[in-house]
């Protein structure tokens, strides 16, 4: 078990955070710490806008960071489960980023 950091970009919609936290609880993954911020500077996320052919507007998305204690094999499963949540736009750990089903080889968030 090692401490890992996950970053999520998600729709700022009611219930979105509960779905993420609920998933950790439901699947037996632990949360060491959790932090949410609204995103007001979209420059780092241009690649998402391009990939999804969208434009983010004010108050539309938030950024969530979670520290969790997991094994490597579970890490991939957590990423895939989070990526499956409809309100989650992108999720990364230190090495990879899932952008709605597309696996990118580095941490872009």
């Amino acid at each position: 078990m090692i401490k890992r950091k996950l970053t999520l970009i998600m729709e700022n919609k009611p219930g979105a955070l509960v779905r993420v936290v609920g998933l950790f609880h439901q699947r037996g993954y632990n949360i060491e710490s959790l932090h949410v911020d609204p995103v007001d500077d979209f420059t780092p996320y241009k690649f998402i806008e391009e990939q999804l052919e969208t434009k983010f507007k004010e108050n539309e998305i938030s950024r969530l960071t979670i520290q969790t204690l997991v094994s490597d094999s579970l890490m991939r499963q957590i990423l895939r489960q989070l990526n499956k949540l409809i309100d989650v736009i992108a999720v990364s750990n230190e090495e990879t980023t899932y952008l709605k089903g597309v696996l990118l080889d580095e941490n872009l968030l």
């Binding site: 219930g15 509960v18 779905r19 999804l52 499956k84 409809i86 309100d87 089903g101």
Partner: protein, 581 residues
């Protein structure tokens, strides 16, 4: 301009459902849903089916969805109406069935005040839905309906809840109605077409396998991949096994079909999986009822895994080659490539593998035609009941089932040649599913034979729906395999708890099912002797326009075999009460 319709939230909801192609809603009214019920009354495009319990509504919508491939639609009120629907929502979720559940909610200004019949439906349903919506602005009703159906039916299907506070459907607030042509959810795009590289790698493995097994599950049915699967195997000529959820996706009477695999799978299916050198998993997810102990699962096999859901691949069993996409599309791509390489493939190399499988089948395959030697000195065997039903209906019926031994006997002995005809709660194992699910199927296919193979335990969990069947004249046939016990529980107690039957029998308290059926306005037939069985079943199926409840008393001591021995491999099975592999 000014041509747009002005409608209340409730009327917009009905218009949106109609524009979405919905024909049937299964539901039950109550305070928070009354504006919607009034809108139902004032329209004639969508039929509403009044069930007797919200659980029945969800299972009926589920049966409709499983048999047609179209989403089932449910409408319930807030509070107890919503909570009663949860078991059925969870059942659909666990089996990836498309469903849209609309729940009334207390008015927005009352939310959070512990108002009468207030429950947090979004919260309660969250772990068992694919997604959910709460309507905060009535203007959004058409868009939310469009999105809900899109999410429920695309990718890996599942149930979606729309919770609607009562004020959102108030009759005096009118809005301009327009139904969106497309749902556009930027954060949702499930894969459709597979990656070409992965297809190439998969085909290379297919060409070189000596002991391949095709293992297809419910995902293949969800993707309507039966033709592609059949075509693939015209080329490969490999043995095929199906999960409990996949039965029918490959014709059961085909000589390459091994039967179901897993916990109560056939000897040959489990042996073939264990000894395979290549497993082609198609819309199946290596559930614990399939793998037994994952660390001992099929030690020599490479795995090609086709699935639409990333998180299902390499979750339990690591895939050597993962192919993400609609499995129908992935299979097509594989076929297309294979067809260019037919000169590199020789079916005959599989002959030793087929011979081996034939050996397994002849040594410990299921016992066919069990009923042939039965006399009245012996009790009726539950397997024989299913075999008779199979023969009388010529294998063509829609069969729903409940949960327990009868379900496993139905899965083993009714041979499905087509998908969407075997309707059962696989992952959730929900007792009470069978009868309401059969109603949903019968609404979708009024001219087809629809039957429910159930047990006296399960049928009592949604028995009230017999009244719905009378109201809507649904001539379903109910085959109650009555072993006067919670048979599957009792079997586990026999095998693992020294035969201590804790709370698995009813001490002579069962109802008279014949009278019970009659009091609901249907026909009841009781069968106690082998010599009466066939003619009683024939009589039941000859009554085309009546619901007939056939209560068959069977041998209470019978167990389901084969049965995997827990924590071992797929080779380790009980074959009968006193024989192991």
């Amino acid at each position: 301009m000014g041509t747009k319709l002005k409608l209340s939230g409730a009327d917009m909801l009905m218009h949106a459902l109609h524009d979405e192609g919905v024909e049937l809603i299964f539901g039950y009214p109550g305070g928070a849903a009354l504006h919607i019920y009034d809108a139902i009354f004032r329209q004639d495009k969508i039929e509403h089916i009044l069930v007797r319990h919200e659980q029945g509504a969800t299972h009926a919508a589920d049966g409709y969805a499983r048999s047609t491939g179209k989403p089932g639609v449910v409408l319930v009120t807030s509070g107890p109406g919503a909570t009663n629907a949860i078991t059925g929502i969870a059942t659909a979720f666990m089996d990836s069935i498309p469903m849209v559940v609309i729940s009334g909610q207390v008015a927005s200004h009352l939310i959070g005040t512990d108002a009468f019949q207030e429950t947090d439906m979004i919260g309660i349903s969250r772990p068992v839905v694919k997604h959910s919506y709460c309507v905060f602005d009535a203007n959004e009703i058409p868009k939310i309906v469009k999105e809900a159906f899109h999410v429920a039916t695309s990718g890996r299907p599942g149930p979606v809840v729309i919770d609607i506070p009562k004020d959102m459907t108030a009759p005096d607030n009118l809005f301009e109605y327009e139904y969106p042509k497309k749902a556009n959810i930027r954060s949702y795009n499930p894969p459709v077409e597979p990656d070409e590289n992965q297809i190439e790698r998969a085909v290379t493995e297919l060409l070189n396998a000596k002991r391949p097994v095709i293992y297809a599950g419910g995902g293949a049915i969800a993707s309507n991949a039966e033709e592609e699967l059949f075509r693939l195997n015209e080329i490969l000529d490999a043995p095929v096994t199906n999960t409990l959820m996949g039965l029918g996706i490959y014709p059961a009477t085909h000589h390459r079909f091994l039967g179901m695999l897993g916990m109560h799978g056939t000897y040959q299916a489990n042996m073939a999986m264990h000894n395979a050198d290549l497993i082609i998993a198609i819309g199946a997810r290596f559930d614990d009822r399939i793998t037994n102990n994952p660390s001992k699962f099929s030690p020599g096999a490479k795995v090609i895994h086709l699935d639409v859901d990333h998180s299902s691949v390499s979750k339990i069993i690591e895939a050597n080659i993962a192919v993400f996409g609609q499995v129908k599309n992935s299979l097509s791509a594989m076929i297309k490539l294979l067809e260019t390489k037919l000169d590199q493939y020789n079916k005959d190399t599989l002959q030793p593998w087929h011979d081996q499988i034939q050996n397994w089948k002849s040594s410990h395959g299921l016992n066919y035609e069990l009923y042939k030697n039965e006399s009245d000195e012996n009790p009726i065997l539950p397997q024989a009941v299913v075999q008779h039903v199979y023969n009388i209906t010529e294998g063509k019926a829609y069969v729903t089932s409940d949960v327990g031994q009868h379900q496993m006997f139905a899965a083993q002995y009714y041979h499905f040649d087509e998908p969407r005809k075997w309707i059962n709660s696989g992952s959730m194992g929900t007792m009470g599913f069978g009868l309401p699910a059969a109603m949903g199927v019968k609404f979708a296919f009024p001219n087809e034979e629809v039957l429910c193979i159930t047990g006296e335990g399960s049928i009592q969990m949604c028995i009230q729906e017999l009244s719905t069947c009378l109201q809507y004249n649904l001539p379903i046939k109910i085959i109650n395999i009555n072993n006067e016990a919670l048979g599957m529980v009792k079997q586990w107690q026999d095998m693992n708890y020294g035969g201590r039957h804790s709370q698995s029998t009813y001490q002579n308290s069962l109802p008279d099912f014949v009278k019970l059926a009659e009091s609901y306005g249907h026909v009841g037939i009781k069968v106690e002797k082998n010599s009466e069985l066939k003619s009683a079943l024939e009589k039941a199926f000859s009554m085309k326009d009546r619901l007939v409840f056939v209560d068959v008393y069977v041998d209470p001591a019978e167990h389901v075999y084969p049965m995997l021995i827990a924590n071992n491999s797929l080779e380790d099975m009980w074959l009968s009460k006193d024989k192991k592999t």
